[in-house]
C-alpha cells in the first residue's frame, strides 16, 4: 500500500523525474481501461465536491473527438488549505503523470496547469518538473496563473480564465465537460486527484489515503496524509494535539460545516461517512477553533470574507451575503438582537440557490451550520470588552 507522499523527505523539496521513475516505475499506458479502473475504485475528486473521478472522465471522453482540454487545478484558493501546494512542491511528477494519463484517456489536445499566481514555489516546482518531461508531453502543456481570489478556483472560473482571460464563474449549462475551453469538452481535476490517478494506473487501485490540512488551535498545524476513516481526534493528535480545549471544529474549509468539539473527535474523515451525518469533508481543511476565540466573532469574520469574495455578477449573492455578513457583524460587535437572528434565517433561505455558481450556497451552508451547532452562542452574544493594547 503506497502513499502519495512516499519517497524522499518532504523537507528536501521536489522529487525529480529520475527518482520518481526509480521509485514507481515508468508511466503506464492510458486508455479506457484506466477510466474503468477509476470508476470501479470509486475514487472521488479532492477539490471539494468529491465527484466520482471515473464518471467525470467518462463524460468528457464521450464528448471528446480529440479536442478535449485537461485543466490541472492547483489554484488552491481556500485560505487555510495547504495540501495542493505541498503536493506541487514535493511530488510534481505524480501530478504530471496523472495529467498526461488523463489527457490520453479523454483524448485531449491540451493540458493547462492552473496554478495560483501567489503560489510561487509551486509554480517553480511544476515548471522545473515539466522541463524534465519528454518533448511530446511538454508540447501539450500551457501554464496559466490563477488570480488569488476565492472563486478563481471554481471549475467554471478556471475554464473562463483559460478560455477568455477572466476568472469569473459562468452560468451552467453548459458545464465544462460538455463545452469548456474553446467550446471543447474540458476536464477540470484537482492536483491531488491526479496524483492518485498516477498511482491507480500503476497499482490498480488508489492509495486509500487522503491529504488534510489541520489548521487553527493545534501545536503543529499543516498537511497530513491520513488513511481513510482516520478520526478527527487521530488527525488532531498527529498535528501535535489541540493547544487548548477547543469550541469545535470546522470541517471542509469556509464552505464546510461546524461540529462541537465533543461530537467531533470520533468522526471518520471520509466523504461518504460525513455526508451521511449532514457534514462535509470538502477540501480537507480541519479547522480547530480554540476555546479562547469567540465562535460568533470568528463566523462573522469568515462571512465578511466570503461576502467580499463574491464576483458581483448576481444580485442575490452580492447583496445577500453582504447583508448576512453585516447582520453577523452586528451580533458580534453590538450583541444579539432577535431581529438580526430572524434576518439571518430569512436571507439564508432567499440567497441559497439564487446565484449562477455555488458561492452563495456554500456561504449559507457555512452560516446555517454555525447557527445550528452553536445556537446558545448566537442567541446570547454580548460585545467583548476591549482591553487596552
Amino acid at each position: 500500500m503506497t502513499r502519495l507522499l512516499a519517497g524522499r523527505d518532504l523537507a528536501l523539496g521536489a522529487e525529480g523525474l529520475a527518482e520518481h521513475l526509480q521509485r514507481l516505475g515508468p508511466l503506464p499506458a492510458a486508455g479506457p481501461s484506466l477510466t474503468e479502473a477509476l470508476v470501479r475504485s470509486g475514487l472521488a475528486g479532492s477539490g471539494g465536491a468529491a465527484y466520482p473521478t471515473g464518471l467525470k472522465w467518462r463524460s468528457v471522453a464521450a464528448e471528446s473527438n480529440g479536442t478535449a482540454v485537461v485543466i490541472v487545478n492547483g489554484a488552491e484558493g481556500e485560505p487555510r488549505s495547504l495540501k495542493d501546494r505541498l503536493l506541487m512542491t514535493t511530488r510534481p511528477h505524480l501530478i504530471l503523470d496523472g495529467a498526461f494519463l488523463a489527457a490520453k484517456a479523454v483524448r485531449a489536445k491540451q493540458v493547462v496547469l492552473y496554478i495560483g499566481e501567489e503560489h510561487r514555489a509551486s509554480q517553480d516546482s511544476m515548471a522545473r518538473a515539466l522541463a524534465e518531461r519528454t518533448g511530446e508531453e511538454r508540447r501539450l502543456v500551457r501554464t496559466v496563473s490563477a488570480p488569488a481570489r476565492y472563486v478563481a478556483g471554481a471549475s467554471s472560473a478556471a475554464v473562463h480564465l483559460v478560455d477568455e482571460g477572466i476568472a469569473t464563474p459562468t452560468t451552467a449549462p453548459p458545464s465544462a465537460h460538455e463545452r469548456g475551453v474553446a467550446g471543447a469538452p474540458t476536464l477540470v481535476q484537482n492536483v491531488e486527484t491526479l496524483a492518485q490517478v498516477a498511482l491507480v494506473a500503476r497499482n490498480g487501485s488508489p492509495t486509500g489515503t487522503l491529504l488534510v490540512t489541520v489548521a487553527g488551535g493545534v501545536f503543529r498545524p499543516g498537511v497530513l496524509e491520513i488513511q481513510a476513516q482516520t478520526t478527527v481526534a487521530e488527525a488532531v493528535e498527529l498535528a501535535g494535539g489541540a493547544s487548548e480545549p477547543p469550541h469545535g471544529v470546522l470541517l471542509g474549509g469556509y464552505f464546510g460545516t461546524w461540529v462541537k468539539a465533543a461530537n467531533a473527535w470520533e468522526l471518520p474523515l471520509d466523504h461518504d461517512a460525513l455526508r451521511a451525518r449532514g457534514l462535509t469533508l470538502g477540501c480537507g481543511v480541519i479547522g480547530v477553533l480554540p476555546g479562547s476565540r469567540c465562535v460568533v466573532c470568528e463566523v462573522a469574520g469568515i462571512m465578511r470574507y466570503l461576502a467580499s469574495e463574491s464576483s458581483a455578477q448576481c444580485g442575490p449573492c452580492f447583496f445577500g451575503l453582504r447583508a448576512l455578513a453585516d447582520a453577523c457583524t452586528r451580533i458580534a460587535e453590538r450583541g444579539t438582537d432577535p431581529a438580526d437572528l430572524q434576518r439571518l434565517q430569512r436571507w439564508s433561505a432567499e440567497v441559497s440557490g439564487r446565484g449562477a455558481c455555488h458561492h452563495p450556497d456554500g456561504a449559507v451552508m457555512f452560516l446555517q451550520s454555525a447557527l445550528a451547532t452553536f445556537p446558545d452562542d448566537f442567541a446570547g452574544h454580548r460585545p467583548h470588552l476591549r482591553r487596552a493594547a
Binding site: 488570480p147 481570489r149 480564465l161 477568455e164 482571460g165 477572466i166 469569473t168 464576483s311 444580485g315
Partner: protein, 195 residues
Amino acid sequence: MNDTLLWYTTRGAGAVSLVLLTAVVVLGILSALRVKGAGWPRFLTTGLHRNLALMTLVFLGLHIVTAVVDPFTHLGWLTAVVPFSSYYRTFWLGLGTISFELLLAIVMTSLARGFIGHAAWRMVHWLTYASWPVAVIHGIGTGTDTLSAWLLVLTVACVAAVVAAIGFRVTAGSRDPLEEPRTTFQAAVQRREPR
C-alpha cells in the same frame, strides 16, 4: 382639392410621427432610468414604448405613401428606400429616408430580439440617437417654405423633451447597482483581453 388633401395629410402624418417618435425616445430613456411610480409599473413604460413605436410606423407609412402618391412632388416609390434619389428637395427628403430606414432596422431587430440575442439588439438600438435627430432636421428642412407657427412650436417642444431626457440620463449614471462592484471584481481577475 385632392392634391391639397394629400399634401396636408403628408404634413399632418409627418408631424404626428415626430411627436410619437419623440415620445418613444423619451419613454425609452425613462425605461433605462428604471423610473417607477405609484400606479405606474415599469412594464407600462416599456409597453407604451413598444406600442407607440409601432404606431409611429403606421403614421410614418401614411406620411410616406401620401407623399409619394402626391402628383405635385413627383416622387417615385424608390425615394422611400434610396436616400437622396429625389429631384424634389433632394437633401432634406434624403434625410427622411435615412431616418425611416434606421427606424425600420431598430423595430425589426426588436421584434426579432429573441433570435438575435440581447447584445446585437442593443447595438442596433443605439441608432435611435441617429434616427430621431435626422427626423427632426428632415422635418425642419422639408418644411422651410411653409413652416407654420404650430409646426415650429411642436418641433421645439419635441427637441426640448428629448434634450431634457438625455440630460437626466447622462447625469443619473448607471441604475444597475452591481455595475461598479462587478467591474471592480472583473478588473481584479482579468489577465488578458477576451478573444
